[in-house]
Symmetry: C2
Subunit: 108 residues, 2 copies
């Protein structure tokens, strides 16, 4: 898997999963890994960035076996960001697909 493809995309993936339900970091890795390889060394810095930017808040919760989990919840600003980035990704992917299919005339 081309690592470069993921740049910036993992952020919207995290926001999108969090839009459905609150998650803790480790859980996000396993959720996203069903579709796209992602490592822990990626997710934690990313989550801290999202918190710094005010897109998520956190709360701790005990877990049955293992250390407590730090859950992440989208803020209003985070929901707005999720929506905007999703649209931007859709537009971008459509542009790339058009280019790869040789539809090089932007008018169509």
């Amino acid at each position: 898997m081309n690592i470069q493809f993921k740049k910036g995309v993992l952020e919207i993936c995290v926001l999108s999963v969090l839009a459905h339900k609150d998650c803790y970091g480790y859980e996000l890795v396993s959720e996203i890994s069903k579709r796209i390889d992602i490592s822990e060394g990626t997710i934690y810095p990313l989550l801290h960035r999202l918190k710094d930017e005010g897109y998520v808040t956190t709360y701790l919760q005990e877990s049955a076996g293992g250390p407590p989990r730090k859950y992440y919840r989208l803020t209003e600003s985070g929901r707005k960001e999720e929506h905007e980035q999703k649209e931007e990704w859709m537009r971008f992917a459509a542009s790339v697909n058009a280019l790869l299919e040789g539809k090089n005339n932007a008018a169509e």
Copy 2:
């Protein structure tokens, strides 16, 4: 436009355009710019990288008004790479779309 989205993608875009016809650098910028913003500071290092990796060869050609143009032509290895990267992009984009649509069960 999120700059990060482009990481790695511009390479397959260049390969894809070159798969249709030989181009010079400046022409590639204008072709790709119809769909995706790209600057000259990006394309020239990228083209040199592609040449180093053996995916393209170059030849010079006079131009009517202005300096001579350096055309880039895909090699056999370049065509193979174009094909593989295109498939990888398609798979990747499909995975991201599935994630963003909340189809979090990888089985489907």
